[in-house]
Amino acid sequence: MSALVAANEPGVNGVALAVLIFFFVVVAMAGFWAARWRRPTSMESLDEWGLGGRSFGTWITWFLLGGDLYTAYTFVAVPAAMWAFGAVNGFFAVPYTIILYPIIFIFMSRLWSVSHRHGYVTPADFVEGRSGSRGLSLAVAITGFLATMPYIALQLVGIQAVLEVVGVGGGGNWVAKDLPLFIAFLVLALYTYTSGLRAPAIIAFVKDILIYIVIIVAVIYLPSKVGGWGHVFDAAENKMTTTTNPATGKPNVFIPGPGAYWAYATLALGSAMALFMYPHSITATLSAKSRNTIRKNAAILPAYSFLLGLLALLGWVAIAAGTKPVGLDGKVNGQLVIPQLFEDMFPSWFAGVAFAAIAIGALVPAAIMSIAAANTFTRNIYKAWIKPDATTKQEAQVSKITSLVVKGFALIFVLTLDKSNAINFQLLGGIWILQTFPALVFYLYTRWFHRWALLAGWAVGMVYGTVAAYNVTNKATGAPFAGSVANMPVIGQLGYIAVTAFAINVVVAVVLTLVLRAAKAPEGVDSTVPADYFADAGDPRVQKLEVGPHETTPSA
């Protein structure tokens, strides 16, 4: 079949396409089968559909989180940034995903415990329970929802890059061009609908194993074909020191100079603090079956960071290999550099395996993100504001439908948007989501902050971050939102806008807390108690929040 396709349509890599379709079909079947995996008595609750029954152990969580966090962004955008602009734009992903784990080690087990006790499904659920403020909870929910949307779209860009290099999607009309992507997403939407979080959990096994194989083969095999690692770095240094970034007008970066230290460090720190504010990261964490699952994972997930670093370096291997990432429209598109490198250097069948790894790598996070966004809508908008007496069954139904709608929006988003901006859109979402850090993480430790002060800090951070990002203009085209670093006030160096906005957010929250306390502004009701933050599997769920557990008689 593959030979036939190749013969009929020049430009289409038939063997690679056949392998890609094979893996896609396998994964789709696994996705539908997942509904029967660890079969629950009923799928009709968010605990089952949206959190996989809160039952995943260390290894399933490792695959699930790895599949969730290391997305198409990993496989396409990071090496693309390395190839085009160098270390500051691309390699910061390595320190980012290293310091990520000590950070989440510290607070995620507390979030797991309190969510276990109170049945929280989303970060905004916790914020509402802790602060007693529906407004603050809504702010957290909307931010999570908004930040997740471009992230889902980014996954589509990953699939699109693969399809384009294989030679599919070049038809003149709209239908022929976008149909493969449309079909892939429709199938994804259907098995997510039926199987919930179990589907990406199963598929993550396939995805992660494929990607480990592909990257290990790539980093052993490819450098030897282009003259060894020493030559790769020399070629990268040569390109980076002789070219400039047209968007910023600044030279590209082989190794960051003193002027870029702050940018590199703040990009890593800000991204690391932001990642587990995203609803999809929290979804994967809360699906774990015990408090310490996430801590154990903090020690073993860095394996993926190692992989990510190698993958980033493939962007520089492509420089040495002279890869020409030209799209079907004849224009240079940096997003295509890794798929193109694979197609140029690997035998067709293995290129197909590599493409499958990237495409499936996009499906897993897209599924989890749409589930997380749907849960957020259901719990914190639908149930909180529209239908407070919704049953768990209705919640699950609304969530399932929302997951379809969310994917539809992402599809429109990606088909109408300039794709080369995928990474910057994701970073804009990162600026927003980091503004929920105080409400979520500070509240895990203290109720000192006043709920209104946290809300005000969030609002100021959101506005500042958005305006500052808008003001980063592309020097070549004059377009706004051209990057995520800007001059930091006080420090006077370039830094990640999210971190600056976060600092302003915290200052506003602290100052207003002092003011509001002095004015004796009313506190919200805290439905949690300190012991909740240390609960583990087997500890009972709080049954009714209205009847505080402290009102029941303790056993002698």
Partner: protein, 109 residues
């Protein structure tokens, strides 16, 4: 606020051990944020610039530090199960024993 104050408290912890875990966890964050200490080409290792292989090295170091911190926090604050009603801890013996590293500084019921 409540007739059953012990119900609200966190399980006791050995604060010293928790602090040690905190230090282990902060090491990678500090090291990697000091970009100036590693943003250089030489010495290369197998063709890899120092900037690259140093950060790869921290992947392994961080994994080891995080695992060590995990073992430490398990010892520093052992889990104390709740009663089926969730209104008290089950075992006061477990709550007061935090190993042989001195008396727990957390409150003991």
């Amino acid at each position: 606020m409540s007739t059953t104050p012990h119900r609200h408290k966190a399980p006791p912890a050995n604060k010293g051990l928790l602090a040690v875990a905190g230090v282990l966890l902060s090491l990678p964050i500090i090291a990697l944020l000091l970009v100036g200490t590693y943003a250089k080409d030489e010495p290369r290792l197998g063709g890899f610039p120092f900037f690259i292989w140093y950060q790869f090295l921290w992947v392994a170091i961080t994994s080891a530090l995080t695992y060590t911190a995990y073992r430490i926090v398990l010892k520093a604050r052992p889990h104390v199960p709740m009663t089926p009603e969730g209104d008290a801890f089950l075992d006061s013996e477990a709550a007061s024993g935090t190993g042989d590293d001195g008396a727990p500084e957390g409150e003991v019921r």
